[in-house]
C-alpha cells in the first residue's frame, strides 16, 4: 500500500510518484510554471539535494529534469512511494 507524503518529507534519493498537487495553494501563474517544468500527477520524482543553510530550497528530479524549488512549495506536492 502506498504511503502518502509531501515531497518536502521525502528522504533523499527515494523515488516516488506525484499523487496530488495542491494548486489552490499557489497563484495560477506559478501553478502553470510548475506544470510546465513537468510537475504533474503520475510523474516520478526524487529529492536530490538540499541547499545549505536550512535545507531550503530543494533540488528535485522530476522526469528527466532537475528543478529547484522552496520547501514551502514542495509542501504542496503530495507523493506516493513507488
Amino acid at each position: 500500500m502506498a504511503i502518502p507524503l509531501i515531497i518536502d518529507a521525502l528522504p533523499p534519493h527515494t523515488r516516488a510518484l506525484i499523487s496530488a498537487i495542491d494548486r489552490a495553494g499557489i497563484d495560477p501563474d506559478t501553478a502553470r510554471r510548475l506544470h510546465e517544468l513537468g510537475f504533474d500527477e503520475g510523474v516520478d520524482v526524487e529529492v536530490l539535494h538540499r541547499a545549505p543553510f536550512g535545507g531550503d530550497p530543494l533540488a528535485v528530479r522530476v522526469g528527466n529534469m532537475v528543478v529547484a524549488l522552496r520547501r514551502a512549495m514542495a509542501a504542496l506536492i503530495e507523493v506516493e512511494l513507488a
Binding site: 501563474d29 510554471r33 506544470h35 539535494h49 541547499a51 543553510f53 530550497p57 528527466n64 529547484a68 522552496r70
Partner: protein
C-alpha cells in the same frame, strides 16, 4: 514563378537550456547583430542563415521560454515575435523549434504549442550526443511522423546537423503556412500528447550516466558547496589581477609610445595637448583595463555556459530569502558584476514585480567592470603588492574585500527596501537546473568578442567625447599672464570643482576628485581618465611623463585613497544605468530614488572610511 522578395525571417525558439544560443552561434558564426527590440530592453540577436537555394534568411535568436504564456517581459517578446505582434519587426516566416534530446517529454510540449501556430516549422533535436551518452535512443523517423514535422538531429557545439537543418528550413519555407490555432492556454492536453509521442519515439537502453548529479553531490553539498562557490569567486578575482598584469603593461607601453610619437611630430599647441593629455591619457587610462574586463567576462561566461551559475543561485537562495529576494535575483546580480545594464535587463526574467524592482535598485551595488579601472588604479597606487600568508596577494585581497563590501551593501539595501518602499509578498523560487556542459570555446569566444566590442565602442564614443569635453573644460579659459595659480584653477573645470568641493571636502576628497566625479557620471571608468586628464594638465613641468599611478601616489594621502575606494563601492551609477532603470521601471521616480540613495550611501561610506583612517593612521 517565385518572386524573390526580402530575405525570409526564421526564428529560433525553445526552452531555456535547450542549447538555442549555441545553435544560433553555430549557424550564424560571429557575424551577429546584437541590439534591442524597440521600446523594450530585451536583447535582439540576429544573424544570416545561408539557405540551400543560395538565398539567405535572417535568423533571430528569441529569448528562451517554456510556453507562449509569458511570465516575464523577455518571455513576452518571444510570444509577440512568433505571433507577429512585435511593432517594427517583420513577421516570422518559419520557426526552428530547438528541443533537448535528453528531455523530450518536456520540450516536445512547447514544440507542439508552436506547431499549432501553423507556421512552417522544423524541429532541431539538439544535444543528440548527450542523449546517446545517456543511453537514450530516439527513432527520428517515428518522431517526424508523430509530430508531423521534419526533425533534424543536431549537436550545436560540434556543428553537427547544421547543413541538414538549413536544408530542412529551406524546403519548409517553400511550403505554405497552415491555419493557425489560437492558443487556449490549457497545456494539459499538449503535455499528455508530448509524453505520448516521447514514449513512442524514445527508447532508454541501460542506465543513464548521471554525472551531473554526481558533480552536484559536491557543488551543492551543504559544506563543500558554499566553500566551492566562495573559492571560485576568490580565484576569479585573483586571476583578474594576476593574469592581466602582462597585457596591461603592453597596452601602457603602446599608449606611452603613442604620446611620444604625437609629442615628436606635432608642435606644441592645443591640438597636441588635446591628443596627449586628453585623448591618449584619458581613453588610454580606460583601454588599459580591457584585459581585466575580458578575464572577468571570460569567467562569467564559463560559469553561465557550464550550468554552474544556476547552482550558485541555488546555494544563495536561502541567503537571498533572508533579505526578501530569491535565488533567481542572484543571476542578474552576478551579471551586474560585469555591467549593471545587462544585469538590470536580466531582471526581466524575475516574475514578481516587487522582487524585480528591488533587484534593479540594488544591481548598481554589484561592482561592475567599469569600477574595476578605478579600483585598479587606486590599489596599484596605494596598496603594496605584498604576499599575505605566503599565498595571497594583498592587492587581490583588497579587491576581493571591495567586491564583498558591495555585496554586503546590496544585501543590507535589499533588506531595507523590502521593508519600506518595495514591501510586498515574498516571491516564489522555481528554476530548472540544467545538466552540466563543457562550455564550447566558440560560444565563449563569441561572447567575449561581443563584450570586448561593446567596451571598445564605449571607450571610443562616450569616454572619448567626455574626455575631450573635460580636456576643454580643464584647459579653457586660459589664465591671464598675471595669474598666480595653475591653469586648472582658472579653467571652467577648476571653477566647477571649487563650487562642488564643499560637498566632498568633509569626506577627504580634493578638488581634482570633485572635478573627476562629474564626468564620472557619464561612465564610471571616466573618473579614471578624468583624473588622468586633470593631473596631466596640471603637471607643472611640461615633460610630465609620470603614469597616473605615480601621480596619485604623490598627491593623495592614504585616507583619501581609501575613502575614494569606499565611494566607488556605492558610487551613484552612470547615466546609462539611470536611463535603463527609467525605461525598465517606466518613469523617473525610481531612477531618481536610486541616484539619491546611492549618493547618500556613497557619501557616508567614504566619510566613515576617511574619518576612521584619519583617526587610526
Amino acid at each position: 514563378m517565385n518572386v524573390v522578395l526580402a530575405s525570409p525571417v526564421v526564428a529560433l525558439v525553445g526552452n531555456p537550456n535547450a542549447g538555442k544560443t549555441s545553435l544560433f552561434n553555430a549557424l550564424t558564426g560571429s557575424r551577429q547583430k546584437v541590439g534591442n527590440y524597440p521600446g523594450v530592453t530585451v536583447e535582439r540577436k540576429a544573424g544570416r542563415l545561408p539557405l540551400a537555394d543560395g538565398r539567405s534568411a535572417e535568423l533571430i535568436d528569441l529569448p528562451g521560454t517554456y510556453s507562449l504564456e509569458p511570465r516575464s517581459p523577455d518571455e513576452a517578446v518571444t510570444r509577440d515575435a512568433v505571433l507577429g505582434r512585435l511593432v517594427g519587426e517583420r513577421p516570422i516566416d518559419a520557426i526552428i523549434a530547438v528541443v533537448d534530446a535528453t528531455n523530450l517529454r518536456n520540450h516536445l510540449r512547447f514544440a507542439l504549442e508552436l506547431k499549432a501556430l501553423g507556421k512552417p516549422m522544423v524541429v532541431a533535436l539538439n544535444m543528440i550526443d548527450l542523449a546517446d551518452r545517456d543511453g537514450i535512443e530516439i527513432d527520428v523517423a517515428a518522431l517526424e511522423e508523430l509530430l508531423g514535422l521534419p526533425v533534424v538531429p543536431t549537436v550545436a557545439v560540434r556543428r553537427r546537423g547544421l547543413e541538414a537543418l538549413a536544408a530542412a528550413v529551406s524546403s519548409r519555407l517553400a511550403t505554405p503556412a497552415t491555419e493557425a490555432l489560437v492558443p487556449d492556454g490549457d497545456i494539459a492536453p499538449l503535455q499528455r500528447e508530448a509524453r505520448r509521442i516521447a514514449t513512442a519515439a524514445v527508447r532508454s537502453v541501460g542506465a543513464p550516466k548521471r554525472w551531473s548529479e554526481r558533480i552536484d553531490g559536491v557543488a551543492l553539498h551543504p559544506v563543500a558547496g558554499p566553500l566551492l562557490l566562495a573559492g571560485l569567486l576568490f580565484f576569479i578575482f585573483q586571476a583578474v589581477f594576476a593574469w592581466a598584469e602582462a597585457p596591461m603593461g603592453w597596452i601602457e607601453a603602446l599608449i606611452g609610445a603613442g604620446q611620444d610619437l604625437v609629442n615628436a611630430t606635432l608642435d606644441d599647441g592645443p591640438l597636441r595637448s588635446m591628443l596627449v593629455n586628453g585623448v591618449l591619457a584619458g581613453v588610454g587610462a580606460v583601454i588599459i583595463f580591457l584585459p581585466q574586463i575580458l578575464i572577468l567576462f571570460f569567467f562569467i561566461l564559463l560559469l553561465e555556459q557550464s550550468g554552474y551559475m544556476v547552482r550558485a543561485a541555488f546555494i544563495m537562495d536561502r541567503l537571498m530569502a533572508g533579505v526578501g529576494l530569491n535565488g533567481r535575483a542572484f543571476i542578474p546580480l552576478l551579471s551586474s558584476f560585469a555591467c549593471a545594464i545587462p544585469g538590470i535587463m536580466a531582471a526581466r526574467t524575475i516574475d514578481s514585480p516587487k522582487d524585480r524592482l528591488t533587484t534593479i535598485l540594488i544591481a548598481p551595488l554589484m561592482t561592475c567592470s567599469a569600477r574595476l579601472p578605478v579600483y585598479a588604479v587606486i590599489i596599484a597606487a596605494f596598496i603594496p603588492a605584498t604576499q599575505v600568508g605566503g599565498l595571497f596577494n594583498l592587492q587581490g585581497l583588497v579587491l576581493t574585500g571591495l567586491y564583498l563590501f558591495g555585496v554586503i551593501g546590496a544585501l543590507v539595501a535589499a533588506a531595507a527596501l523590502r521593508r519600506t518602499v518595495t514591501r510586498g509578498p515574498s516571491p516564489s523560487f522555481l528554476m530548472e537546473m540544467p545538466k552540466y556542459q563543457w562550455p564550447a570555446p566558440r560560444d565563449v569566444g563569441i561572447g567575449l568578442y561581443q563584450r570586448a566590442t561593446a567596451f571598445l565602442v564605449r571607450a571610443g564614443t562616450i569616454i572619448l567625447v567626455s574626455t575631450i569635453v573635460l580636456w576643454g573644460l580643464a584647459s579653457y579659459p586660459k589664465p591671464p599672464a598675471n595669474w598666480e595659480g595653475t591653469a586648472l584653477d582658472y579653467s571652467l573645470a577648476g571653477r566647477i570643482g571649487d563650487a562642488i568641493e564643499p560637498i566632498f571636502a568633509p569626506i577627504g576628497f580634493n578638488r581634482e576628485i570633485a572635478i573627476a566625479l562629474v564626468p564620472g557620471m557619464a561612465a564610471r571608468e571616466v573618473a579614471v581618465s578624468a583624473l588622468a586628464t586633470v593631473y596631466a594638465l596640471e603637471g607643472v613641468d611640461e615633460e610630465n611623463t609620470d603614469s597616473l599611478v605615480e601621480t596619485l601616489r604623490g598627491r593623495w594621502e592614504l585616507p583619501t585613497a581609501l575613502a575614494f575606494l569606499a565611494w566607488f563601492v556605492f558610487a551613484p551609477q552612470c547615466i546609462s544605468t539611470l536611463a535603463v532603470t527609467k525605461r525598465e521601471t517606466g518613469g523617473w521616480r525610481w531612477p531618481i530614488f536610486m541616484f539619491s540613495y546611492l549618493f547618500a550611501a556613497a557619501w557616508l561610506a567614504a566619510g566613515f572610511t576617511y574619518w576612521t583612517a584619519r583617526a587610526l593612521l
